[in-house]
Symmetry: C2
Subunit: 336 residues, 2 copies
């Protein structure tokens, strides 16, 4: 009962490595448009559902109360590279609530954006929680607690009202009930609730369209999508896959990566949601699968196809810049 190979890694004349996984493309009524592999097995969605987690920040009124603009909304949905603009944006979110980085429980790590990490080193500084790729989401949680008029401390605990609201929102979007034991602790210490890919994709179809959602939630989803489309740099960062895709496609495609090979996307014009999990946790493969499925379902023009070519079959270069191979999607991802 194994999932199919979705991506092959080619070097020289051989397939050097291969990534198995599953992917679901679903409409807002929950109808499966495409299912590859086992899409009914719960998986941890990790950071791929930050936009769903951010619904709580919108619906508690935190975004309006603290006058968040597009940059702040995009940061709440982000796995950012810790570049100075990201860090300043998250600090601004917290300052609007009268708080600072001490309120964040995500832990610190060096920016994944190398030049930003090196700038910190040169300044003799250490990374703080603001540099954590999840700091925008955490600032959103803290601000949601403030807007709810409750203690924001311990906001990462599964029983904290903010996380209860997050779980409820994800369940409603996905049309699934998640047991309280179907939970892992994420890299940034918040709960990650296990969901089947079919339901995760449905959640993003609803996020894409607002179909079947209460008006307030549909509006919250629309504002988050519009913010990410307008400020895609704040969702990931310089040169990153999610940023590059949304920079090109704007409101036509919402994408979000998650740890351990998870990827979600929303296609508003097609009314579809996409959810992907690579069995082995490989992000390089999840990006190729996402690019291939978006290329398959989006009505693409010539400019789109040029963007897709590089994302669907990325080349591998060695330390001398020589092309030594490529990633290649399986035929089953491409055939319509």
């Amino acid at each position: 009962m194994s999932n199919p190979v979705l991506v092959e890694v080619i070097r020289g004349s051989r397939i050097e490595s291969a990534h198995r996984g599953a992917a679901a493309v679903v409409d807002a009524d929950g109808a499966l448009v495409l299912a590859l592999g086992h899409v009914d097995v719960p998986i941890y969605p990790r950071s791929a559902v930050k936009a769903l987690q951010a619904l709580v920040m919108m619906e508690t009124g935190a975004a309006d109360r603290f006058t968040f603009g597009e940059e702040e909304l995009a940061l709440a949905c982000a796995s950012h590279g810790g570049e100075p603009g990201h860090v300043a944006g998250v600090a601004r979110m917290l300052a609007r609530a009268g708080l600072d980085q001490a309120a964040l429980a995500c832990g610190g790590h060096w920016p994944s954006h190398q030049a930003s990490a090196h700038a910190l080193v040169r300044a003799g500084a250490m990374p703080s929680a603001l540099h954590n790729n999840c700091s925008g989401k955490h600032a959103g949680f803290v601000c949601a607690a403030c807007a709810m008029g409750i203690d924001h401390r311990n906001y990462v605990a599964p029983e904290h009202p903010v996380q209860r609201a997050v779980k409820a929102a994800i369940q409603e979007m996905a049309g699934a009930v998640v047991g309280d034991d179907e939970v892992g602790i994420d890299g940034c210490s918040v709960p990650t609730w296990a969901l089947p890919l079919s339901h995760l994709a449905r959640a993003f179809a609803r996020f894409a369209t607002g179909h079947g959602l209460p008006p307030q939630r549909a509006d919250a989803a629309r504002r988050l999508r519009a913010a990410c489309a307008a400020k895609p740099w704040f969702v990931a960062g310089t040169g990153r896959f999610c940023t590059e895709v949304m920079k090109h496609f704007g409101e036509r495609v919402f994408v979000k990566t998650g740890a351990e090979g998870v990827f979600c996307a929303a296609l508003p014009q097609q009314g579809l949601g996409i959810a992907i999990k690579c069995d082995d946790g490989a992000g390089r493969a999840a990006e190729v699968v996402a690019a291939a499925l978006i290329a398959r379902f989006v009505q693409a023009g010539d400019a789109d196809r040029r963007v897709f070519d590089a994302l669907v079959r990325p080349q591998l270069r060695n330390w001398n810049g020589t092309i030594v191979g490529s990633l290649s999607p399986s035929l089953m991802l491409l055939v319509t």
Copy 2:
């Protein structure tokens, strides 16, 4: 025709990800002691065969002519972290041949050892070819060419006499003929010749024992093993898997990682060679498989078992240091 799951990634109550692969344990006559998955499919061994590539440096007389000691021999077998001691050692190897880093064709990259990378940044320096994790192997190739009295330039080309000698040595050790088209370009630009795991494991059984090898080659293998056992820090670096294993086990266990989920080991006391390839290219899984197989075949004392416990089932911690999961080997790796 898929390989079995060899390692599971556990988070919370669930298997979050899983790594498939194949592994062969073989004696010096080529008899399979254990075969998991498809061990007859050629794979690129990448950096896992650096010790076999280094045989040419020994057999051309380069190591003696340039009075290489244990540190230099270990560096020729290394994928090092670019720490200052590694960089100085490789510079020393080249200086003995009257050359410097300009002779290296591996390209440069930032040290994988973070503190060493940060020290470069603070000094306002950029990484050179000396910092490339493969620089010791490349210095060995360059010095071999010098000892052969031939032009060292273009030493990375498959048709250069050094690479022809490397291919011949690997074929003889493995007891296999590799077609000239069965080649990929490695991350450091040298050829990587595809071999089945069964033959790769046989090569390391011979490397472990000298069984069936001409006396000069058996002596070269013995000296390389002794050097890596005596100076394991030079084979990888601070906190790295290969270094930690050889620090503990000394001459009882030789180990070497390779890119894309490859791992090789030699067990001299048991007369066995081990070769592992994770289908998806995951190094985290290859290390767990290696640790589990070494634990299974080495006659372990209590101190050994304490070391193995942490390597066979490594814990996963998040940015706050909370244990959120673990890697776990499949039962088939453990049962005897």
